[in-house]
Symmetry: C2
Subunit: 388 residues, 2 copies
Amino acid sequence: MGPIEILSLEEIRKSRPSKYFGLEGDVISLGLAESDFEMPKEVKEAMINAIINGRYHYEMNGNAEFIEAARDKLHRVNNVPVEDEEVLPTVGVMNAIWLTYKVLLKPGEHVIVVTPTYPALIGRPKSFQAEVTEVKTRRDGHLDIERIQEAVTSKTKMITICNPNNPSGTVYTRDELERLAEIAVKHDLYVFSDELYENLTYDGRKHVSIASLPDMYERTVTAFGFTKTYGMSGLRIGYVVAEKKIIRLMRDENTGIVIHPGTVEQIGAAAALRKCDYYINFLRNYLEGVRNRLIAELNEIPGIVAQPPEGSFFAFPDLSLLFEKDEDAVKHLLKEAKVMVYGGSGFGDGGQGRVRINFCSPLEIVEKAAVRIRNALAKRYAETIGKK
Amino acid sequence: MGPIEILSLEEIRKSRPSKYFGLEGDVISLGLAESDFEMPKEVKEAMINAIINGRYHYEMNGNAEFIEAARDKLHRVNNVPVEDEEVLPTVGVMNAIWLTYKVLLKPGEHVIVVTPTYPALIGRPKSFQAEVTEVKTRRDGHLDIERIQEAVTSKTKMITICNPNNPSGTVYTRDELERLAEIAVKHDLYVFSDELYENLTYDGRKHVSIASLPDMYERTVTAFGFTKTYGMSGLRIGYVVAEKKIIRLMRDENTGIVIHPGTVEQIGAAAALRKCDYYINFLRNYLEGVRNRLIAELNEIPGIVAQPPEGSFFAFPDLSLLFEKDEDAVKHLLKEAKVMVYGGSGFGDGGQGRVRINFCSPLEIVEKAAVRIRNALAKRYAETIGKK
């Protein structure tokens, strides 16, 4: 099966207690955003060697190997010219989200969040007494530049995007990012870009980091991680990239919350960046095939048109024809198809009526789940729309 | 050398980049609170097996093996009758400190912190707009119950202690903890007890968890860790214990900051609790010998009387006879003795004039450093007091 070992459903169930939490019997979980693939063997080896060789002590300034690997990857892949002092290791991307908003926002300031998106990107600013305006993407998932422009007020401090998008999979083009950058420059705003899914773009699309655009580096904070695309969910390691002054503030904050992320994880993450392009390339190709199979099944459902996601590992079909609320769709699929998915409403404006289906799983498992979903929804169609 | 491998100074320097950060040449670091001993081989084995066997995925409710091991240890060692839902894995004790103050304090409320103590215990409440009153311990390091009682106001919400104490090493007796508990019950206060050094008590002293006293469980939050006494500093794993309602709030907060601490670390920590009493027993005996040697050297310095610490791995001698400020003592020892220690002022009221000397290091290394300290301070005495 190529360079990544494919686990059985039974093995996946056993080793992913949160993804399968509360799910009895024959349920397949395509819910929680976790990969069903094991992490690269190079990461395992690097972590094991770190443990054996006593490399698991305090690293207050970050593990040098990890920071250098992240710097080189930012130069090589993202075309972002960072220095070492502009990379901060974090306890996953969640930690980076918390730090970014904490350091950049004052109470009463305003954030524009492009939605649907990862819930913490919408919710966290509110906990710091900042105001949030959600601006929906266009129906095709791309940026609605005019509405973003209209949402800017005198109190606006930043615009938050997730690219490639969770949950819609949209991969923003260079052109639309340039138009977003224009707004940021014109109004002197920060852009916070969550790029956790940067490695997964399909049909030959290229991921563009907004920090790589002219005049954007000094006003962009970018979060990267390993959790999703390297199958390292429980390791809690990511990194955030910004100009020195911001990183310094973030480091000070984080020292008082967690000291720093685990040293062994940092050494593992360095190996992922240095040695595992083969893994990412394989996974991207493999998941493109899984995506195609899933989308084909969804399009067999009468009345449903599912667009193939451009990136990430989620399909995000609109089921509002069949269900009044997306929570009803989730309940129906769990009961009738024995497949766990997430309701779109949790991802903010523009998510309503949709469900998020995580397809980062072996083809056989997604196929089985997709057939079940198709059958359950075709039956639903027959019993509701079909009857009229 | 018994069940713990003893490293050379060269090996320690290489593997502890933060403890030796910025220290050139022949300097010995007895500064940063980090153990110079490797973690138990059972912890290494457990972590390596977790990596090999794919046990490194999300565990939103905490790793069951770790939580059960912590629960059993709390019953067996601390005499605290917790249930599983009353244990929360944290990214080290720093994370537990942040969460405790975050969840229990509202702006304007008041905390009494017994000092000298770990700086974050004093500083963190202020960042949540709470007020702090530092109450100094008695000269012997034990609780000044009368002054604590006097410091209680109508806004007081909690009393914070560190037991065994960092930096003084004091191990609070059952009797004084009972008197503290009386105040807490009388005024309906929480007690926050940082017990990171619980394993290290000397001369046959027993560590008493204040949560084990009558009527105290429901009003106590206790933080425990592995960083210090198990040599696991860079692994970032600890746990906090409190009643269910408080733990639930803390879990919710932490999910939004870090999701949860690393799964592999949790599995390693479970092994420490289940299998490594031998390690702690050996370390306690070994460090008692190191302490005795260090204190004997310090008492050779004219004008200095150093009490042997009752617990933890710090000596905290008063050098105010020889230096106006403790920072001067730190600078002098770094320059003249080539030994790095920490100034006492950083630990709050009662720390002034003292230095903290971390003796969690091989006997040979502490001996070498202690002789250098003795010589440098004897010379200082001769050039200052001795001249008068």
